[in-house]
């Protein structure tokens, strides 16, 4: 076999996705599609009360319903059920309440599981749930974070003696990464202080969570199919939680319909399906309803941010103080306590703050747990800093872009170690901003704004800026260890050369919409000189993908991509002696270019990877001492985070008479380093920006005063539809990541991190002449109208009614 044609680079090509073929034809393998012989169905009775003692459960009527195989309550499994795990105890003295999969004596939020039915059909199981009688003794609820930590507050967990889970502090003076904020604020000519509210959000992945468990035979163990982002972490933890030897636990994440952090959890339902399957000795399936999902699948955000900037009169920043309350919900989720920490290092953003102090307390309330949601900590931090930079600009009377220019890290200053102790490896804020302003028509829009202001147009124009960066590619294991996270941040890849020259690739990061099968194929095609279609990417099954740390924190390509690159390099190394033998040359005279080994400096035919794979398969004529194997694995542990950045600009038209906000133009220029597949990248930006716009304008999870979820369906939790959004303008600058062999940075969360402050800055900018400097998210027409008309006594009279 010879290589004659020139190969076209796959990396950088807008390859259409391999994944699509099954997804556009309905030949998918969602967990809820799985049917096994003898499979039974599980339904869960959930608490209607936010806080109560369970005084009695009468399940006798349910047990005698037709088709019901088993009914159990918390008391039946109290001794064996253990506690759902929190893997991120952020401080030594963190308060960690027990989180039982099934409530025993008390419930602490609405939707908490109280009883389980296993039946022949889903309908029979749901019918039987209605026949279970539970007596609750209601208890006072704790909902407001500030009230929860006030003296004498009612306690979510009285045995813990406090509603404060932890307090975590970073002080640049103490850490030696910067100065003292006390000094900075004492010397400041200008201090701007604001309070921002990060409303509670519902991740709202489109596929409701689902789980199927098949108990093993007499040898024990089990197989679990779960709509999860974290099959490997789940395997490890299920082994510990159930006492099952890890080699007897197989986890499969089949087609998974979105996650956004919302499926980064070990959930009650997985454990309950496990107990159910063990009790009945049969496969058991549970699929949640959307109402269940919105009520109990972990929520995101929900923070109160007090932020304070010290600056000189010329706008040079001197110091930053942040005091955060983070709502943990009733318990601690898998990584929930760590979410604010992921933001802690991002408050200084792209700016050269000499001093930073960050303090965060995690607070218990009688609500569903919060945990990772797209961006996890960084959107919150970016929102607060990008909002308050606008406030600082207004305070000193300069354009908000100018305040950023005066304070950001200049291109020639990279690598730059920030006041938070992170070393930003690369970036070019000037280039991204220049491109964004050009695409946006910044000056023209400012002129139009001035003219609308001058004519007192009822429709005012607002311009919002977000010059963001973020830390992703989670994460250097040592850093995670220093932050007391329970696991590492490496990733694994394997490359298997098949005898016919085709390639099987195994990745430890588990895709659920990101397009790994396509992007990984592009990388391998270029590295090994094989065809894009000759590569099969395996993931999400711990039997084939034995090792990995899964998908979150924009890590798949930034970390897993390097593991894949390194595994490919090892395959090439393994092939070298074999190719040299076939070409009858010294190994040192070989070069591997354009998909073939050739003798350096001589024209003529080379030997491809396929040639080597076949030679290894036959193994008739291998050099002495050379193993008949090309396959290789690699594990990569990053030494630093990945720092994508960009400039997002948003223009809104705010109708002061109706309060409606219409986004007129949105420009996103992102620098995510080198791009493997621009089609996929653009899709990630579109979707990320849409979710950030949704936080700014549309979405909010609301509880009433008794802890009932008022936004438990898509009627009330207003996910934007196509008619609510617009075509955004996307473009890129490209500053390759210097530490990454492919030069890539993470992109999965960037859009969400950048867009929320861009939109809210625009809304506030529209109304600033009316004395408005903040509007709570989401900026609904009602809130905007109230803000726009707050000066009018007639309007206030209407509001009063």
């Amino acid at each position: 076999m010879t290589v004659t044609e020139d190969r076209t680079a796959e990396v950088g090509a807008p390859r259409r996705r391999k994944e699509d073929a099954r997804l556009i034809t309905g030949r998918t393998n969602w967990t809820d599609n799985i049917v096994l012989p003898g499979m039974l169905h599980m339904a869960i009775l959930r608490s209607p009360m936010a806080r109560a003692r369970i005084t009695q459960i009468d399940a006798s009527a349910a047990r005698s319903q037709p088709g019901v195989v088993d009914v159990f309550t918390g008391r039946d499994i109290a001794d064996i059920q253990g506690s759902l795990p929190c893997a991120w105890p952020v401080t030594e003295d963190i308060v960690m309440p027990n989180r039982p999969p099934l409530a025993v004596d008390a419930v602490n939020h609405t939707g908490e599981p109280v009883a389980v039915v296993v039946a022949r059909s889903k309908a029979a199981a749901v019918d039987a749930i209605a026949a279970i009688d539970v007596d609750y003794e209601p208890l006072p609820v704790v909902l407001d974070m500030e009230a929860a930590i006030a003296d004498g507050a009612e306690l979510v967990h009285p045995d813990k003696g406090t509603n404060k889970s932890y307090t975590w502090i970073f002080d640049s003076g103490a850490a030696g990464t910067g100065g003292s904020t006390d000094e900075a604020f004492a010397n400041a000519e200008v201090v701007v202080k604001r309070r921002y509210k990060q409303q509670r959000l519902l991740p709202s992945f489109m596929e409701p969570r689902s789980v199927v468990i098949e108990p093993g035979g007499p040898g024990g163990g089990f197989t679990i199919w779960s709509a999860t982002q974290i099959p490997h972490i789940l395997r490890f933890l299920l082994s510990l939680l159930t006492g099952t030897p890890e080699q007897k636990v197989r986890v499969v994440a089949p087609d998974v319909g979105g996650g956004f952090g919302g499926k980064l959890q070990v959930v009650n339902e997985e454990m309950l399906a496990y107990f159910a399957s063990q009790r009945v000795g049969k496969p058991v399936k549970y699929t949640e309803t959307r109402s269940d999902s919105l009520l109990v699948a972990h929520h995101g955000r929900d923070q109160i941010q007090d932020i304070e900037v010290a600056a000189n009169r010329d706008g040079t920043v001197l110091g930053l103080r942040v005091n955060l309350l983070a709502n943990m919900g009733a318990y601690l989720g898998l990584v929930g306590p760590g979410v604010p920490l992921l933001g802690a290092f991002m408050y200084n953003a792209i700016y050269k703050f000499p001093a930073l102090r960050f303090e965060c307390s995690g607070v218990f309330t009688n609500t569903t747990i919060t945990d990772a949601y797209r961006g996890a900590g960084r959107p919150e931090a970016t929102y607060a800093i990008e909002r308050i930079m606008d406030e600082l600009a207004a305070e000193i009377g300069v354009d908000p872009m100018e305040i950023r220019r005066r304070n950001w890290i200049k291109h020639e200053e990279f690598p730059f170690t920030t006041v938070a102790g992170l070393t930003y490896d690369s970036g070019n804020y000037e280039a991204a901003t220049a491109k964004a302003m050009d695409l946006f028509g910044y000056d023209d829009l400012r002129a139009e704004q001035a003219s609308r202001r001058a004519s007192n147009d009822p429709v005012q124009l607002g311009i919002g800026i977000s010059t963001y960066t973020e830390m992703c590619g989670l994460a250097p294991s040592r850093v995670l260890g220093a932050l007391r996270y329970g696991a590492g941040g490496w990733e694994h890849a394997g490359v298997r050369m098949l005898p016919t020259g085709k390639v099987e690739v195994v990745t430890g990061s588990s895709a659920h919409g990101q397009g790994h099968e396509t992007a990984w194929s592009q990388i391998v095609a270029d590295q090994l000189g094989v065809g894009f279609d000759d590569v099969e990417v395996l993931h999400g099954d711990t039997r084939s993908s034995v090792k990995g740390l899964d998908t979150y924190g924009s890590r798949s390509l930034a970390v897993g991509g390097i593991a894949l690159y390194q595994a490919c390099q090892k395959v090439i190394q393994n092939a070298r002696p074999i190719a040299a033998h076939m070409l009858e040359c010294d190994v040192n005279d070989l070069e591997f270019t354009d998909g073939a080994f050739k003798v350096r400096g001589t024209p003529g035919e080379g030997k491809t990877m396929a040639d080597c794979a076949l030679a290894v398969f036959a193994a008739h004529d291998l050099p002495d001492g050379v193993e008949a194997n090309l396959d290789a694995e690699a594990v990569y542990d990053p030494t630093n985070f990945s720092y994508p950045h960009g400039t997002h600009l948003c223009a809104v038209e705010v109708d002061t008479e109706t309060g409606t906000t219409k986004i007129r133009k949105y420009v996103a220029v992102d620098d995510i380093g080198r791009v493997i597949n621009p089609l996929i990248v653009e899709g990630q930006v579109h979707g990320g920006v849409a979710q950030g716009i949704a936080q700014a304008l549309f979405e909010e999870a609301v509880y009433d005063g008794e802890g009932n979820m008022l936004t438990g369906t898509f009627v009330d939790y207003t996910l934007p539809s196509a008619a609510d959004l617009l075509d955004i303008v996307t473009d890129r600058t490209e500053t390759p990541a210097p530490g990454h062999p492919l030069g890539t940075k993470g992109v999965g969360e960037a859009g969400t991190i950048a867009s929320t402050p861009a939109v809210v800055n625009a809304v506030v900018d529209a109304l600033r002449p009316r004395g408005i400097h903040d509007i709570d998210m989401p900026c609904t027409p009602e809130r905007v109208w109230r803000a726009a008309n707050q000066g009018s006594s007639a309007a206030l009279g209407v509001v009063g009614q």
Binding site: W30, F205, R290, H686, F714, D727
Partner: protein, 172 residues
């Protein structure tokens, strides 16, 4: 129990079902047409959209008995003879899906929209698929894809595939 006779993707099925059975559950549980999925329980998300006599319906809002004697097309019956429908092809070409869970419903809604309005504006497309939620894409590529499919379907005698439009408008 009620007797029904329903043609699904060109095959006639005769079954008895509980009267309360929703069409989507009949499709999934009785026929194994699991390409059609359930995304919510309030008829908001549209993931379960199928064609009933050629018009889109949310199959979670139709009882199986209401489909008695009628013709249902699901995502699994859209491609003819192994050839993708222009809307399916355009979704692929335009990267109009990520996780793909909303995709069957979104495609079926788009097919119905284009039957009503063969030459829709961007705004008409956005309003036409308002009843179908997607959490991944921000809809931008879905709108592009439906526009492309409309153009392909309007071309007389045109190849049913949409053609090589991948990457257009995408800076490489």
């Amino acid at each position: 129990m009620a007797s029904v006779s329903i043609t699904v993707d060109g095959v006639r099925y005769e079954d008895t079902v509980e009267p309360r059975t929703l069409l989507v559950h009949y499709l999934r549980d009785n026929l194994g047409k699991v390409g059609t999925v359930v995304g919510c329980d309030t008829s908001n998300c549209g993931a379960c959209t199928v064609l009933l006599n050629g018009r889109s319906v949310k199959s979670c809002t139709v009882l199986a008995v209401q489909a008695d004697g009628q013709d249902v097309t699901t995502i699994e019956g859209l491609a003819v003879g192994g050839e993708l429908h222009p809307v399916q092809q355009a979704f692929h070409d335009r990267h109009a899906l990520q996780c793909g869970f909303c995709t069957p419903g979104m495609i079926m809604a788009a097919v119905s929209l284009l039957a009503d309005e063969p030459n829709p504006s961007g705004e008409q497309i956005r309003e036409g698929i308002e009843g179908n939620l997607c959490r991944c894409t921000g809809y931008q590529n879905i709108v592009r894809a439906i526009g492309d499919a409309a153009a392909a379907m309007r071309t007389p005698g045109a190849d049913r595939t949409v053609g090589a439009t991948a990457g257009e408008g995408v800076s490489a």
